[in-house]
């Protein structure tokens, strides 16, 4: 069986007055129907990796790779129209902050329905039913009422569940979740992540969870990639994280506070560690 996603030597660069700057510098990984976590500090290139897979890096950014294939399809050679048929329907992405990622002047229902209609024709009634089912699947009570609301009328946690509904309703094979909880209240983070976890397991999808939070990724993923300055510095199964060898990963682990904390002061990341 071919893996869901194969990435080889992926590079993303942006031009600056002093020549191009690479934000992703030749990373490679493969993904099956499993949960992969990508961790790194901000600016490590993890978000750009997600967007590069969807071919949504805006110009003047440039993407290059030796291999970028999804379910046997070469993403590099797809036309814009073919990419469009893949986006949403087969690869989807949950973005960071529902406050900015939901359209402020369209109702929630319209925006979810649109994600289905972009890929399938169906009657108005079937569509409404499907939206209702999906909203229930993301555990929203009174889905008919919520569907008529505008994004500014819902809370952050509910906004993110709406985002999940919108991205999962066309039943994609791969979900990229780019910092799906970092804009949310701590109290609702676990709920949202449990929801994503539950839905992708039930549907047998692949997941790429992008986050700066090592603990969170360790809890929800099977495998972990640690990125630093555009490169993968560590790749290991989640349960072996404690045994990670790379000094950067060790430093990240050490910088996380523990419940049974005995240290008087948390160590600060030593950025000179190469």
């Amino acid at each position: 069986m071919t893996p869901l996603l194969e990435v080889e030597n992926l590079r993303v660069s942006f031009p600056t007055p002093r020549g191009p700057v690479e934000v992703v510098r030749g990373i490679s990984f493969t993904l099956g129907r499993e949960r992969l976590g990508i961790v790194g500090e901000s600016g490590s290139g993890k978000s750009m990796t997600g967007r590069a897979i969807l071919r949504l890096v805006r110009p003047p950014g440039r993407v290059a790779a030796d291999r970028l294939s999804f379910d046997g399809l070469d993403l590099r050679s797809q036309s814009e129209g073919e990419m469009r048929r893949l986006r949403g329907a087969r690869i989807s992405m949950i973005m960071q902050d529902p406050k900015y990622s939901l359209n402020p002047v369209m109702t929630v229902g319209e925006q979810i329905a649109e994600a289905v209609r972009a890929h399938a024709r169906m009657s108005r009634r079937a569509l409404r039913q499907r939206v209702r089912d999906m909203l229930e699947a993301v555990r929203i009570e009174a889905p008919d009422r919520v569907a008529k609301l505008y994004p500014h009328e819902v809370s952050g946690g509910m906004g993110q569940r709406i985002m999940i509904a919108m991205m999962l309703i066309p039943e994609p094979d791969l979900l990229i979740a780019d910092e799906p909880t970092s804009a949310l209240d701590v109290s609702v983070r676990a709920q949202v992540l449990d929801l994503i976890d539950d839905l992708i397991k039930r549907r047998g999808m692949g997941l790429i969870l992008i986050s700066h939070d090592l603990d969170l990724v360790a809890r929800y993923c099977d495998r972990i990639l640690v990125m630093k300055e555009g490169e993968i510095v560590e790749s290991c199964p989640a349960q072996n994280l404690g045994a990670a060898t790379h000094p950067y990963t060790r430093a990240l682990l050490a910088a996380a506070p523990r419940l049974d904390e005995t240290r008087a002061e948390l160590p600060v990341l030593d950025r000179s560690a190469a």
Binding site: P17, R18, P60, A274
Partner: protein, 306 residues
């Protein structure tokens, strides 16, 4: 990591990420801005046009004959080798008049900028810095002026003051300061809350000192953009006043007034009205191109929007 021992070039020094001195930071910023400006062909074109305007105004006597000298036997001659743009109804050389017209245009533009920009700047900065009643009164006044059509306001003022180029300049200045005041206030409000302003205030600096030393310098770049973009409007308004007969008075070679004279001959001697019109369009476009380019380069808000 290896240590780079090669000597840094001037370019590297200018483009340094962490400048070591204020001068280096300033020069670096100017260098980066001019690099970006040079990549914008329209902005370069605009700068060249304005440069040409300055040079032509300066050397007018060297390249053109007397703009007021009449030559009645040669009236209304079409463009030729002797008269590149033809002659007008009094036999005056239109080319010479257009060239000398650059001086009048430059005078108007410079004087309006000198009168209106500092006035708007100070009113806006004071209004934004002090807030409260000062702000309400000053901005109320500004908004009233802003809500009135500029050209009509200028027309009414010139009508009241009487025709003449000085009056036209005053009238245009009166109708242009409110725009600058608005911008200056908006920017002052954002700067006002900055930590470093609070730091200066804690050291006991007077309001005057804070505004003069720490707020006004930061307002200049957006004001320069604004004034440059406004120049076209100022030139058009001045030409309009000249056209109606309220601006520069004959025989001054003012472009708007020249078009007005050529109006009667537009069907048979098209060059009389058309030539000064092209001059107005080219100079105004020059300011627009440069202003547009400057805004793209200097205004961080629009730069972020790519």
């Amino acid at each position: 990591m290896t240590l780079d021992l090669s000597r840094p070039t001037l370019r590297d020094w200018l483009l340094a990420d962490s400048p070591a001195s204020r001068t280096q930071a300033r020069l670096g910023r100017a260098y980066r801005a001019s690099l970006a400006l040079l990549r914008n062909p329209l902005a370069v074109l605009g700068a060249l046009i304005i440069l040409a305007l300055l040079v032509l105004a300066l050397i007018a006597p060297l390249i053109a004959t007397d703009p007021i000298a009449q030559d009645l036997p040669n009236r209304l001659q079409p463009p030729s080798g002797a008269h590149w743009m033809g002659t007008d109804e009094l036999g005056r050389d239109i080319y010479a008049r257009v060239i000398y017209g650059t001086r009048i245009t430059l005078e108007i533009v410079v004087l309006v900028a000198i009168l209106a920009a500092p006035l708007g700047l100070v009113i806006g900065a004071v209004s934004g810095y002090f807030g409260g009643w000062a702000d309400r009164v000053l901005m109320g006044l500004t908004d009233i002026f802003l809500s009135m059509p500029k050209l009509i306001l200028a027309l009414a003022f010139t009508a009241a003051l009487g025709p003449g180029i000085e009056h036209a300049i005053i009238a245009i200045a009166i109708s242009s300061w409110p725009g600058y005041a608005r911008i200056a206030r908006a920017e002052t409000l954002t700067i006002r809350r900055a930590e470093y302003v609070a730091a200066v205030e804690l050291q006991g600096a007077s309001a005057l000192r804070v505004i003069w030393g720490h707020i006004l310098p930061l307002l200049t770049s957006s004001l320069i953009i604004r004034v440059t973009l406004d120049m076209a409007g100022i030139i058009l308004t001045a030409a309009g006043l000249g056209f109606i007969g309220l601006g520069a008075q004959p025989p001054a070679p003012e472009w708007g007034a020249m078009i007005s004279r050529g109006r009667s001959f537009i069907l048979d001697q098209w060059w009389v009205a058309t030539m000064p019109g092209f001059a107005i369009v080219i100079v105004s476009l020059g300011f627009c191109f440069l202003g547009d380019g400057l805004r793209d380069v200097l205004d961080p808000r629009s730069a972020e929007r790519r």
